[in-house]
């Protein structure tokens, strides 16, 4: 049993991840606090928390980014540790320092590792200098005057990236050298606007790339292990939609190589706690992409195959405990798939949807786990990220996991707010996905096959019938229809 040096943990987040972290906090016998903004009308996290800390700001997101307010209110509420979740301030070294300076334990790595890996250019240079593979590139900082020429020399296809970015934001693919200057200028403006930093770097773009990432866990006593890899190639505009573990398409030797590289990178950076090293894989080679110094959205698929609770491991590491297992003890059983349920209309360029959650019946069954940020009565607004819940399915192999996922998606009922459940079902039903022939451009390539098909006449009749029979106005009007028609019955042409 761990003797925790803190008894109260503030989860500085919201939605599904806040609920998920709180579950583990409480299961370990600790007190769980959570932040709350008025825009969140009803949320599972609020029910699970032992204490709720109200925050406000110019808009909901600004509130969750207000480090000063959060630290001050955390202290007043008696929090002794802070788990930042993902997004928001989770990769903000200043927040990490503020929490520690206020005498609380930050459940995550130290600020130096956050700083190092947060600057994508610095991280890349660090990794390359230690002999790990990085994609051929041109870094602006090396010599701004010759940057455009060096980028041009890489030849197309190219990927322009903001040095201060991350998570896929602000990236542009260039396939025509004639457009290079124009795209660099646009990327610089975006970098300044979104990250306050217009510095860029350019990498050779791997066509039909696969996104392979490795879960890392490191304690404060010098032990670093990996918990196998995940594949996150099903993306749209660099946003992940479906993730899985392990990566069934790669041979074992290559998976071992990638995982060992990830451990080497984390160890070289003196990393502590949970983190993920991301790689791009294509044409038989893999290249370091970036390291995320936080718990990731898709961590449940790793939990499913290893049987570990990553948040529990994070809290134990933060408490100063040694990892209770070594690399040889890390198991991988079966296959897991995670599907992100978004409030988006996939038929209309994934436009965000709003509405009230009238009915929410998540799937249940063998190997099914649902991490939900919504409950019935919740009002979905454009104030926050549109991810509503995650459906995680485990099976003895990839085929069984996908079969269970299909069934779970069909059984999931979410009414009142538009969502991507139908899109997810069609996506995993694609033959290419079933065969594991996936890459980050697949969803864009097959957009026409992923549209909602016209319903069958039988389903349409059923929908009209159910609507009519449940409408008081239509039922009342029925009394006025002359009996003669009822007796005639159908008059088919």
């Amino acid at each position: 049993m761990t003797k925790f040096p803190f008894d109260s943990v503030l989860v500085a987040n919201r939605g599904e991840i806040a609920a998920r972290i709180l579950r583990t906090v409480k299961s370990l016998g600790l007190r769980g606090l959570v932040l709350h903004h008025a825009a969140d009308t009803s949320a599972p996290a609020l029910r699970l928390a032992d204490g709720i800390i109200a925050i406000d700001g110019a808009n909901p997101i600004a509130a969750f980014l207000d480090s000063g307010q959060i630290v001050e209110k955390a202290i007043r509420a008696g929090a002794q540790a802070v788990h930042p979740g993902y997004g928001f301030l989770s990769e903000n070294a200043e927040f990490c320092r503020a929490v520690t300076n206020a005498g609380m334990v930050f459940v995550g790595p130290g600020p130096e590792a956050i700083d190092l890996m947060g600057d994508k250019v610095r991280a890349r240079a660090f990794v390359a200098a230690r002999g790990f593979p990085v994609a051929p590139s041109a870094i602006e900082d090396d010599d701004p005057a010759s940057f455009a020429a060096r980028a041009r020399a890489l030849d197309v296809p190219l990927l322009i990236k903001p040095a201060a970015g991350g998570g896929g934001k602000g990236m542009r693919i260039v396939r025509d050298l004639a457009r290079l200057e124009e795209e660099l200028a646009a990327a610089r403006r975006e970098g300044e606007r979104y990250f306050g930093d217009g510095r860029l770097y350019v990498e050779r773009y791997v066509e039909r790339p696969r996104h392979i990432e490795v879960q890392i866990l490191a304690d404060q006593h010098g032990t670093t292990v990996h918990l196998h890899e995940r594949e996150c190639s099903l993306q749209r505009r660099f946003q992940k939609i479906v993730e899985e573990a392990p990566c069934a398409a790669l041979p074992v030797a290559e998976r071992t190589e990638i995982c060992d590289a990830a451990v080497g990178i984390a160890a070289a950076a003196g990393y502590r706690n949970a983190g993920t090293v991301e790689f791009i894989y294509g044409g038989g080679s893999f290249y370091f992409l970036e390291m995320n110094t936080r718990l990731q959205v898709e961590h449940p698929v790793t939990e499913a195959i290893t049987g570990l609770d990553l948040v529990a491991e994070q809290l134990r590491i933060a408490a100063g405990e040694k990892l209770r297992f070594g690399q040889v003890d890390v198991q991988s059983h079966g296959h897991a798939v995670e599907l992100r349920i978004y409030a988006e209309d996939a038929d209309r360029e994934f436009a965000p949807c709003t509405g009230k959650v009238l009915v929410w019946r998540p799937a249940v069954g063998d190997g099914v786990r649902v991490d939900s940020g919504i409950e019935e009565g919740a009002v979905v607004t454009s104030g926050f990220d549109p991810m509503l819940a995650k459906l995680i399915v485990h099976g003895k192999d990839r085929a069984e996991a996908l079969e269970r996922a299909e069934r779970a998606l069909t059984q999931t009922v979410l009414l009142g707010c538009g969502n991507n459940l139908g899109f997810l079902r069609r996506l995993i039903g694609l033959q290419e996905v079933q065969d594991g022939l996936i890459h980050t451009g697949l969803i864009a390539d097959h957009a026409d096959r992923l549209r909602t098909p016209a319903p069958s006449a039988a389903v349409l009749r059923a929908v009209l019938a159910a609507t009519a029979l449940s409408s008081r106005a239509v039922r009342e009007a029925a009394d006025a229809v002359p009996r003669l028609h009822a007796a005639i019955g159908a008059w088919r042409n």
Partner: protein
């Protein structure tokens, strides 16, 4: 099964009893008959035996001519959400109150004007479409009330003046028709 197909005009009273259901931009004219013993769903060119059994907790069973579907229902009478076979439908049930084009001297019913300010929710007709009296030209919404603007006379759509989502003032011309020529509609 055709949407807005031919309805035998010789059947008195039925047209006025039809409700308009909107799913996306498709419109369906629907009515019920035979309640409560043998409910019939009446569409423009067919009728089916139907039943709905609610099971509690938003779950229900709907039957159409013997075909059985397990569904979930939510929403209000005016805005119905249905989950069926893994897909979700949102149906707007429109009041049978319909507003015809303004009568004004010289208008001759060729200009369909907005009876009140609002916004366009759906436009089921395109330029060149032939319309008959009573056909819906445009669906508008104003102060939570959704209304169908119907053609007063036969014609061909010459122009649709507002896109879905656009707002307009009272009396704005929403759709312009040209008179049907001999042999049309």
């Amino acid at each position: 099964m055709r949407c807005r197909g031919c309805m035998p005009r010789s059947v008195p009273g039925v047209t006025e009893m039809m409700h308009l259901f909107r799913i996306g931009s498709a419109l369906w004219e629907v009515a019920l008959a035979g309640l409560p013993e043998a409910p019939l769903l009446l569409l423009r060119d067919e009728a089916c035996r139907v039943s709905l059994e609610t099971l509690g907790g938003a779950a229900a069973i709907v039957q159409v001519d013997g075909a059985r579907f397990a569904i979930h229902l939510a929403g209000t009478d005016e805005q119905r959400f249905i989950h069926i076979e893994g897909e979700v439908f949102e149906i707007a049930v429109l009041d049978p109150l319909t507003v015809h084009a303004h009568k004004e001297a010289g208008n001759t019913g060729l200009l369909a004007r907005a009876p009140m300010p609002g916004c366009v929710v759906a436009c089921p007709v395109g330029v060149g479409a032939a319309v008959r009296p009573g056909d819906s030209l445009v669906m508008i919404e104003s102060m939570k009330l959704e209304v169908a603007i119907k053609a007063e006379r036969a014609g061909v759509v010459q122009a649709v003046h507002f896109d879905v989502g656009s707002t307009f003032e009272k009396d704005a011309v929403l759709v312009t028709l040209v008179a049907a020529t001999e042999g049309q509609a």
